[in-house]
Symmetry: C2
Subunit: 519 residues, 2 copies
């Protein structure tokens, strides 16, 4: 293996090839990480990807070695618990904030179970852990959404790069010590924008103060595993605070501007590519839409079906628009389904969004779809389902490039109003074109940036020069509470001594005067 | 002019050439800005540089148009007041912190006078202002060290890019709303590092709290001019808060890691270039040093002389080292000056620092010299004189790549000890080589970055997507003080109502029990 490797390195002319360990997370997380990992392999680095035997979307990738570890669940379990669970949720009425929160909490709980089983699965496999140790990796790229990679980085004592997007409970801002003033940086899952009213700012402040506790709670089991594996009392958050770099899968054509730390690298929109021409069949369908154009509709990789009643509302709305519709849908089709709708198992989403005749994009608001929409400048109607999608939606709605609807109380009428608005009101398209221009206008491609910084960390064994001294302070010191206490003490002492001295002098003088008077 | 311009644009193949106004500041400030400005001109943008008629180092630059405005001082005045003042200071004993602060304050006062005269000079010249208006610039690059460019940006209503380095009173962090936790971000001119003890953190906190007042004081006259010129009550700080971008002339191989804002672009070390071969005469001199190598010594562009007694200490020290010395010095030379010292009016500093035989760099700690030293990996002995140099020095000393001495109580002995240390203790060279490797290893050259972002601002009429919502909050809102007040009020109300209700219930029950007892 190593011989072949050296040969490959020589062939590629790379003399500085490094050894990189990758521990990704499933689903869209892996989709976001894969391009970087494959490019690093292509450039001659030795890239080893470690994944569980059962997964929804992870598997061998180009120019990399994939190693698996057994887990006590199957792909079918994942499908039942994650995808099945989504279909179930879609049949429920979740219009209230409380029900949404409970669903979010429940989903996180289910996810956490699988996440913990991954960590248990890897660390129990001693021969694999030994093998990883023998590789002497230069660095690890991992998704901190799962603690397994985080713990491995500490176990192998290698610099860690965390590639992340909207971690729950703001792990990234806490672990990187990135200031997030609650007055204009909305907390995850609040669905607030960066312009909050007094009440929203109250909620946001309380949420900000509660975040460390929420993180602690979320990591309870992971912290136990970390302490057991590393044979010392530690926590996932503590390990994460030693990150070499944070790859942030966002950029400011999408995210609200907020403070960053020097070891954060923004790589949002990394996966977007120039659209390719459509197949002849698709081209004919969309060209047939004439001047009205067409609409693209998907609810992400995990939702290809809908409860029948809900689907009916969509069909009803589509029947009433002059546009043609391309819909990724595998559910039951009503007999009188409108002729302008083409149902497909899979859509070449980016290629469709890049077509000149596209008018709108109906999406759940996953980050991949959003960046493809922004890249191609297509106004959106957004139906957030779960996770970070509710927050994502706000970022586009507040920019005037999208409308949002709740999927839970959706009707054909509501959908029609929103769809007609984003298509006929020219401001949506104009603002989206502007946003697209800003997004595409960058000094360096985010993929190149991610590759550069990963190789930088491998070359220099970390990125210590980007690590703020904040990490060496405890909470009291960081917030200058000891300083404030000390200064107050100083002030009180000075006042006390001054008052006492004055009183002493006054008494002396007073006594003298009295004595004089008596005399 | 415009015809020629179009022709040039066509020739260069640039179809998106913009019109850029540049209002620089003198001395090392202009040295830092010149490469960007010239490169922007070379790329086919129409660049107009506006400078005062009298200046130390500013003048026509390549590929740009230079316009001047009259000022009521001469170049000789500048030389007398700034350079002459420095020579005078060097003869004084300034070893105490208070005297250093007073000198800093005095220097700032002198500088401010010239700065204000520049602003007065430009705005009085109505025909020039009219001409600038007629240009319809797409953007302005200016150095906020002088308010003149800041006010012009608002007067012409064009997006402003502020290129700055270590602005006094932290104008940049205040105006950009960049969080600077006083627990680990040392304030300018404190000479603290990012690791402070309790007392230093006390001083730093107080300094942080006083900064807004210091800025207000510093800008008193400038604010008056701004309000007069713009015909509305305004302040320089308010205008600066509308910055499109901040070009920060530092990077983290030098600066301590600290939070950044999205509209900050780090372009530190932009002016450093690959060293060129030396002239035959110089090459012979440095090669003649044998295995001992040579030392480069300059105190910056403004100090080429020293008081005789001080110079004697340097000559004495140099006599006792085996290295040869190249010293930029134009002062009186003692008769028995050592043979290993070569005095020159001007040194090819970067080329010398890039020579394989160089062993150490004696410098005042100006940012240009520092970046050239870092780029070429040369350990330093630093003699900070004024301005930001005291802070700069700490950044290198704390990294173990330099030693610092006070020029005010310098003796030959002290200099010898420091010089021998950085030359013979291998750790200085090792750490400097590492720092150099980090500094050189970047995904994109800082000059290209500066050029890209300037053209970005011209293309998109600003960079609104990078502007944090913090700017729309007042001080109370930003710090969530209204929210805290509101939450406290809510809490007090809840407690009050609860207690009252309990007491009411208790009284009711108590009365009933008493009644029953009576019955």
């Amino acid at each position: 293996m190593t011989g072949l490797w050296l040969l490959l390195s020589l062939f590629l002319g790379s003399t500085e090839a490094g050894k990189l360990l990758v521990i990704p997370s499933d689903g869209s997380h892996w989709m976001g990480m894969k391009p970087v990992v494959e490019e690093l392999g292509r450039r001659g680095n030795q890239v080893v990807v470690v994944i569980p035997e059962a997964s929804l979307s992870m598997g061998p990738s180009e120019h990399t070695t994939t190693l698996t570890y057994p887990v006590n669940y199957t792909k079918a379990d994942l499908q039942t618990h994650l995808e099945g669970n989504l279909t179930e949720i879609l049949s429920t009425d979740l219009s209230s904030d409380l029900s949404k929160f409970l669903v979010f909490f429940y989903q996180m709980h289910v996810l956490q179970k699988f996440i913990i089983r991954n960590a248990e699965g890897l660390f129990i496999k001693e021969d694999l852990m030994k093998k990883l140790q023998d590789y002497s990796f230069d660095a690890i790229i991992t998704d901190p959404f799962e603690p397994v990679g985080v713990i491995v980085s500490e176990y192998l004592s290698i610099p860690a790069i965390y590639m992340q997007i909207n971690l729950p409970c703001g792990v990234d801002t806490l672990a990187s010590q990135s200031p997030s003033p609650p007055s204009y940086v909305p907390q995850r899952n609040t669905h607030f924008t960066d312009k909050m009213n007094l009440w929203q700012r109250c909620v946001n402040l309380v949420r900000t103060l509660l975040q460390p506790m929420a993180c602690k709670y979320m990591h309870t089991e992971a912290d136990e595993i970390a302490s057991r594996v590393l044979r010392k009392k530690t926590s996932v958050m503590e390990i994460m605070s030693r990150a070499a770099l944070w790859f942030m899968r966002f950029e400011f054509a999408f995210e609200f501007p907020r403070p960053l730390m020097p070891n954060m690298v923004m790589i949002g929109g990394m996966a977007t590519k120039k659209p390719k021409p459509l197949t002849q069949e698709l081209e004919e369908f969309v060209e047939g839409s004439g001047e009205h154009g067409f609409v693209v509709f998907t609810l992400g990789s995990m939702v290809s079906q809908l409860p029948e009643a809900k689907a009916r509302e969509f069909f009803e709305a589509f029947r009433q628009i002059p546009q043609r519709v391309l819909w990724r849908y595998t559910g039951p089709v009503p007999e009188n389904a409108p002729k302008n709708v083409k149902l497909m198992k899979w859509l070449p989403q980016n290629d469709l969004l890049g077509h000149p005749k596209v008018k709108a994009f109906i999406t759940h608001g996953g980050s991949h779809g959003i960046y493809e929409g922004i890249y191609n400048g297509v106004p959106m109607v957004m139906l957030p389902l779960f996770g970070d999608q509710g927050d994502n939606v706000q970022r586009l709605v507040s920019r005037g490039v999208a409308e949002t609807l709740s999927i839970y109380d959706l009707t054909a009428e509501k959908l029609l109003v929103a769809l007609r608005k984003v298509i006929s009101d020219k401001s949506y398209k104009e603002k989206m074109t502007e946003l697209s221009a800003i997004h595409r206008d960058r000094p360096i491609e985010p993929l190149d940036l991610a590759v550069f910084w990963t190789e930088f960390v491998m070359r220099h064994k970390g990125a210590a020069h980007l690590r703020p001294a904040a990490h060496e302070l405890n909470w009291i010191q960081y917030h200058s509470l000891d300083v404030i206490g000390f200064l107050l003490l100083l002030l009180v002492t000075v006042i006390f001594v001054t008052v006492k001295s004055c009183m002493f002098c006054f008494r002396k003088c007073f006594k003298k005067t009295q004595k004089k008077k008596k005399e």
